[in-house]
């Protein structure tokens, strides 16, 4: 059990007066229109919400009339007994003991908490919470309120449904698996519903704990494997310990299922926690996630709104896929095997000079004269395609950051090197860069990207990895500047979108001079840095989120300024370029030189040792066998196979190269199994589906393992040939 930070006190602003609308009214389920996915988002799938058909019948409790509340007795909460054997105080003591064992911080907060509101009871003995004359449950009592709310909710549940994927949005391997499986499944007569009929969900997100009268039913009905409990008012959790048996719930979840408490009053923390949990627990289980709002609250509403706006699937992006991973391992192999590259390391000390992080967004063009005027007063870190605009305007970047493995980058880079003098630029490149690019630069500092399999396979220390370097080069550039001790950061041309969607990059950049294509669409609006909005897209938003996270993570004693006339980046103070004023710097060249010299070389010995340790010929087949076994014993409907698979795929971990090599594509396979599996209505069909899915899954894994080993053999052979 885990938790997030705790919250502001209970206040009328958070407990809004008036009778709460029922969940069904607040959480309307609408189909969502989506644009076609670009390259970058191909792996994330699509999201949609929709209402399933109504269930028949109505519970007796739902027909019960609301009770009139009684005047509370002195002390309120100690008045009633919970069971013939246990008083509220005893229940609380038992609950606190459970929290003490499971989550010390929650226990401490609850132990010392002094409530401002009062736990009261209606005439029929139902608990409620009263604050300044207002009752949380509108005077009806927790159980009556919850009963009505649950009945309404089940009629139109708020669930997140991903669109069913077809092979066009999948990578080769998961696509091949999907096609083979679906051909056989359809041939065998299995049919699928548009949305699942079952209430089962891997994730259950409960927005508002209140006195917890709704939890048991929700948990029981959804059979969720991961329960996220969001509560902005610790006050309510405190009161719930007197009336709800937390011990029982926590015990019920045991070791194989998870409960996460999100106790914060900051909407952005709530949405981040939800997104983060889904990503690190099981991205393949997103489809069908149940969102339940317990009481009206602006914080919860805002968090829910943020999730909807940001598109939860964006947070699931960048999971990688097999073919890409294989190529990146091979290119890392080629780049590092010579022992000639400097490598990222733990760099101590502060840089007394500011860093300009220069992207190639369209607003760069306007700011080039300002960058030029200040080029001796700041270290210039160019981002990928900003190279041409900078050089064409007489600005030599001190560093150029490149991220992508794409071979198409090489001819553009070569073209630039023919046209301009690139001497004096230090390349800061991911280890997976296409070999040959590094030859164009005098020197190169390489870094590992944490989310890809080459990192655990080749790293010699964790310092060699750069945190949050993707999805776009601006992320890498910021990460590099942060790692190297800069304190003042200025973004130029980091537009994370464009005012005019047709003019999305600098006029000097390869996109406009050499026909380079962007692989993602610009089709949504976000707040602009200097007022108004910009048009942006999923990958840009992903990049923006990453930049914001990096800034948040390293904010103390640092200043971030955004001089780009593009999208707003939270945490970077908007600064109009005309207001830029920097002090003179004595010797920038010397500072840059000293900085570069602080990076050690990745030696040939390092390389040999890393590759020998990876031992892919043994580890890959063993991994595939274990993964295939996850599906053997399980009935898919309880989703246990997903939990088992996730134990091997380790979604939140970056230290298992083999798992990382496979996991992107395997996620998609599991998503297919999960999505299609829960849309089958008869037991017979489900059994057929599971049998075929198991067989195809095992075949797909075997194909991938064979391909990987064959590929590595070829790389090794090629290297041996070169060495000779």
């Amino acid at each position: 059990m885990t938790r997030s930070p705790v919250s502001e006190p209970f206040s009328p602003a958070s407990l809004e007066p008036g009778v709460a609308p029922l969940a069904g009214e607040t959480t309307e389920a609408k189909p969502r229109s989506r644009r076609p996915a670009g390259d970058g988002e191909k792996r994330a799938g699509k999201t949609a919400t929709a209402a399933p058909p109504r269930r028949r019948g109505k519970s007796a409790a739902a027909k019960r009339r609301p009770e009139k509340p009684s005047v509370r007795g002195a002390g309120g909460k100690a008045r009633r007994k919970m069971t013939p054997h246990e008083t509220p105080e005893e229940l609380r003591a038992r609950n606190l003991e459970t929290f003490r064992k499971c989550s010390e911080p929650i226990y401490r907060d609850l132990l010392n908490y002094e409530p401002k509101s009062t736990l009261v009871y209606t005439d029929s003995g139902e608990p409620d919470v009263e604050f300044m004359g207002t009752r949380l449950y509108g005077g009806r009592g927790a159980h009556t309120y919850a009963r009505e709310q649950l009945d309404s909710f089940w009629r139109t549940p708020n669930r997140l449904y991903q669109s069913l994927m077809d092979s066009r949005v999948l990578d080769n391997h998961s696509g091949e698996f999907g096609t083979a499986m679906m051909k056989r499944v359809l041939k065998s007569g299995v049919s699928f519903k548009v949305i699942p009929e079952s209430r089962s969900a891997y994730f259950l997100v409960v927005m508002g704990i209140g006195l917890a009268p709704h939890l048991d039913e929700l948990v029981g009905e959804t059979s969720c494997r991961c329960l996220l409990l969001v509560e902005p008012n610790l006050e309510l959790l405190h009161h719930s310990t007197y009336v709800y048996d937390w011990s029982k719930l926590i015990e019920k979840f045991g070791a194989s299922r998870q409960i996460q408490f999100v106790l914060t009053s900051k909407p952005e923390e709530i949405s981040r926690a939800i997104q983060g949990t889904i990503r690190v627990q099981n991205p393949a289980g997103l489809d069908g996630t149940v969102f339940y709002s317990h009481y009206p609250n602006s914080i919860l509403h805002k968090a829910h709104d943020d999730l909807r706006r940001q598109d939860i699937a964006v947070g699931m992006m960048g999971l990688g896929f097999f073919e890409d991973e294989i190529n990146m391992i091979a290119q890392t192999y080629q780049n590092l095997r010579h022992g000639k590259m400097r490598i990222m390391d733990s760099i101590e000390g502060n840089m007394s000079i500011p860093a300009f992080i220069v992207g190639s967004g369209p607003s760069l063009d306007e700011t080039l004269p300002i960058i030029k005027a200040n080029q001796d007063r700041a270290v210039i870190i160019g981002c990928g395609s900003a190279l041409d605009p900078l050089l064409a305007n007489g600005i030599t970047p001190d560093f150029l950051v490149l991220l992508e493995r794409d071979p198409d980058l090489l001819p553009f880079q070569q073209g630039t090197s023919r046209e301009f003098d690139m001497s004096g630029i230090c390349l800061v490149g991911a280890t997976n860069l296409y070999p040959g690019i590094t030859d164009l630069y005098d020197e190169t500092i390489m870094f590992f990207r944490p989310g890809i399999s080459s990192y655990p396979l080749f790293k010699r220390s964790t310092h060699q990895m750069m945190a949050k370097p993707d999805p776009l080069v601006a992320n890498g550039a910021l990460s590099f500047a942060q790692r190297t001790g800069f304190r003042d950061f200025y973004f130029f041309g980091v537009d994370v979108g464009a005012k005019d969607a047709d003019y999305h990059h600098s006029k000097y950049s390869w996109y406009n001079t050499k026909g380079m294509q962007i692989g993602y669409a610009l089709d949504t609006k976000t707040q602009a840095n200097f007022g108004g909005t910009v048009t942006t897209g999923t990958v840009f938003l992903w990049s923006k989120n990453g930049l914001e996270q990096s800034i948040r993570m390293l904010s103390g004693g640092r200043h971030y300024y955004n001089c780009s006339d593009g999208g707003l980046i939270q945490g970077a103070i908007p600064l109009h370029p005309s207001r830029l004023s920097l002090p003179k710097v004595k010797s920038k060249r010397r500072l840059v030189r000293e900085l570069i010299d602080r990076f050690p070389f990745y030696s040939k010995e390092d390389f040999d040792e890393a590759w020998a340790t990876a031992d892919v010929h043994r580890t890959i087949p063993a991994f595939c066998k274990q993964l295939g076994d996850c599906l053997k014993e399980n009935d898919f409907s309880d989703m246990g196979y997903l939990t088992e698979a996730m134990k091997l795929l380790k979604p939140g971990s970056i230290d298992d190269g083999v798992a990382m090599l496979f996991r992107g594509s395997v996620y998609f396979m599991l998503m297919l199994l999960h999505s299609y599996g829960q849309r089958i209505s008869t037991r017979k069909e489900r059994t057929r589906f599971q049998r075929i899915a198991r067989q195809e899954f095992t075949r797909a894994l075997k194909r991938m393992a064979d391909e990987a080993l064959e590929f590595f053999d070829a790389v090794e052979a090629e290297t041996h040939a070169w060495n000779k």
Partner: protein, 659 residues
């Protein structure tokens, strides 16, 4: 045995007894039972205040508990008592060095070379406290100041003050820390201590304009008006072009009870406006022909989009804007948000934080958002955006609530007024500024439907009439004390309860009593004693409402009237007697009472004010009837008709844009 020998023996016995206690403290300390050790030490310190060891042990405990500042204070005390003991100097060298006071650390380190170790005390000194060179390698400057600054920005002022005090115990010369501590204490309402801290800040940095301005603010809230004005003036002389200082000076003037001092306000405002405001015709750049076919874009800028006195007025407007005809933008000029900000955000189309954004960049933002109208909610209060308003980035810039005046603010084109304030506002307008009349009142609030039921009248229960007044010395000058004393004297047996501000510090009580002492009514003046709970903010809110159950008639302050508390009082069945003054802040009470339909409680002379209060007090039946019916009566008034108010403001915006 000689007398001398007896005395020596007695001394030796006392010595042994003392050292037995030292040993006991040491043993308990070594068992890490710090509270027991502290208890032993404190008892011993009371009995043997001239002995050093116990102070030292307390210092070591403080160090072990992470309070280096307290440790330094206590061990320095031990060192003062016994300056020849090397252990004390050594510990001081180490602690000072560890927290980054390298000069002090070096001083004590050098001193140790000349001193002798304690003859029986060595085992207590923990190893890290005698390792100066180790400390040199592990210098970790104290983080209390940063923690305090962070907490301050989160508006957790009491906690911020604790952290800042801890820093000052380590770094007594930390000027910024003293200044921030003063401000934090000011925000908690502890103006007496705030003044002390700010005096220290001013002493450390006599040329820091901000420290002087803050000191002026705190002095003001203690009712020390002349000193406050002097501090503000000093700040202004030190930073004549600084908008924040200018705002503090102007804000200070508003509270000054003297009309003569107040009379300089407009002149100063005009001087400031002349030197700083860009010129452009109001409304330029707006295509009037398209106004009916599109949404009007209106932005609100404030430093206080969080739980605070005026939030009810702002929230009522933002919540009820007609979003089909208006696109609403908010610009928050504060570093953090709270649940109120989050709620507000849900009522508007766009929310931006402009904290830390320079005026020119912010003006680009406003232009980028394509605003038609910008409404300034900060005025001259802390967090003003005078420099931004001067940029005139938006075609029409409007002032509504105004601090302290809505008009006479540079960069403002129009002032929203009601029938009560319009004449005054017009008089205060500078240059081309115009007053625009709102139909209904100047403000409206949502009915406080979540407040408790109206309580029984105290006069009914005790047969003694109780007047109430907000215990804000910034608003209770000698004139108000005289006025309220007149009321008390006009109603024999009546009393006055000051409150509605949470816990009232002793310094404030003393000064308040002094004010009333001149009139011989101190025995009839008392203070609300709100319950102290873990959450002062929440508790204050409750206490504020409970206050109304203690009083029969609320006496408004003048020349600075109450605002939200007047609305609350009316809702809680308490009549409010108001005396108007010739400044915006002195017309707010009349404006609110007029909107509530209670003009009969508005006086324009002191005599009428006293008579109105006395007449009410002497008619218990009427008082009881008012208490019973007032809520129902005002619920339907303009003051609580937030929808009509929002329409009235929107009509004013449209009229302005069509000009």
């Amino acid at each position: 045995m000689t007398e001398n020998a007896t005395a020596q023996a007695r001394a030796s016995d006392a010595d042994e007894e003392y050292y037995a206690e030292v040993e006991r403290a040491t043993n308990v300390f070594n068992q890490r039972d710090y509270s027991a050790a502290i208890e032993v030490c404190e008892k011993a310190v009371k009995r043997w205040p001239e002995r050093a060891e116990m102070y030292f042990i307390l210092g070591v405990i403080a160090y072990e508990m992470g309070n280096q500042g307290r440790a330094i204070t206590l061990i320095e005390k031990a060192h003062q008592i016994d300056p020849d003991c090397r252990d004390y100097a050594e510990a001081l060298a180490t602690i000072h060095t560890r927290v980054g006071n390298l000069t002090n650390g070096l001083y004590y380190a050098k001193l140790t070379l000349t001193l002798e170790p304690h003859h029986r005390f060595r085992p207590l000194v923990p190893a890290p406290l005698s390792d100066y060179f180790g400390a040199l390698q592990n210098v970790r400057p104290s983080g209390h100041y940063l923690t305090g600054a962070r907490l301050f920005n989160q508006r957790r002022y009491a906690e911020a003050a604790d952290a800042l005090r801890a820093e000052i115990e380590i770094n007594r010369d930390h000027f910024e820390c003293s200044r921030l501590l003063g401000r934090a204490l000011h925000m908690t309402g502890d103006y007496g201590r705030a003044v002390d801290a700010l005096h220290a800040a001013v002493h450390l940095a006599p040329r820091d304009a901000k420290a002087h301005a803050y000191l002026g603010d705190s002095l003001l809230r203690l009712g020390r008006f002349s000193e406050a004005i002097a501090s503000h003036e000093r700040a202004r002389r030190l930073a004549p072009g600084d908008a924040a200082i200018h705002a503090a000076v102007m804000g200070g003037l508003a509270f000054h009870p003297s009309d003569e001092v107040w009379a300089t306000y407009r002149k100063r405002a005009a001087q400031w406006a002349r030197r700083s405001v860009r010129t452009r015709a109001p409304g330029s750049g707006i295509d009037k022909a398209t106004l009916d076919q599109r949404k009007i874009r209106v932005g609100y800028i404030s430093h206080a989009f969080f739980e605070g006195p005026e939030m009810a007025f702002i929230e009522a407007l933002l919540r009820h804007h007609d979003r089909s005809r208006f696109e609403v933008f908010c610009y928050q000029h504060f570093v953090t948000k709270d649940s109120v900000s989050t709620t507000l955000e849900s009522h508007v189309d766009s929310w931006r934080n402009v904290y830390d954004t320079d005026p020119v960049t912010a003006s680009y933002m406003l232009q980028g958002d394509g605003l038609d109208i910008l409404v300034d909610l900060s005025g001259h209060a802390e967090g003003e955006r005078l420099e931004l308003l001067r940029e005139r980035a938006v075609p029409v810039q409007v002032s509504w609530l105004g601090h302290p005046e809505a008009a006479a603010s540079p960069g403002i084109d129009y002032v929203l007024s009601d029938a009560v304030t319009a004449r005054h506002d017009r008089r205060m307008c500078l240059g081309d500024q115009e007053s625009v009349l709102l139909q209904g009142g100047l403000v409206a609030v949502r009915p406080f439907s979540h407040y408790p039921a109206v309580s029984e009248s105290p006069a009914g229960a005790h047969r003694i009439v109780t007047f109430g007044g907000v215990c804000d010395l910034g608003r209770i000058g000698p004139d108000v004390a005289a006025l309220w004393s007149d009321v008390l004297m006009a109603v024999p047996g009546s009393r006055l309860v000051l409150g509605h501000v949470g816990a009232i510090p002793q310094a404030v009580r003393n000064h308040a009593i002094e004010l009333f002492a001149h009139y011989g009514v101190t025995d009839r003046v008392s203070f609300q004693e709100p319950a102290v709970t873990a959450n002062p903010r929440g508790a204050d809110r409750l206490a504020d409402l409970e206050y109304f159950s203690l009083i029969d008639v609320m006496l408004d302050t003048t020349p600075v009237n109450g605002t939200i508390e007047t609305c609350q009082a009316l809702w809680m069945g308490v009549p409010v007697i108001n005396l108007t003054a010739r400044r915006r802040a002195g017309l707010m009470g009349a404006s609110i009472l007029t909107a509530a339909g209670k003009t009969e409680w508005v006086a324009n002379t002191r005599r009428r004010y006293v008579k109105m209060a006395a007449d009410l007090a002497k008619d218990p039946a009427r008082l009881a009837e008012i208490r019973r019916s007032l809520r129902t009566e005002i619920e339907g008034s303009a003051l609580f008709d937030v929808r009509a108010f929002a329409r009235s403001v929107e009509n004013a915006y449209r009229a302005i844009l069509q000009k």
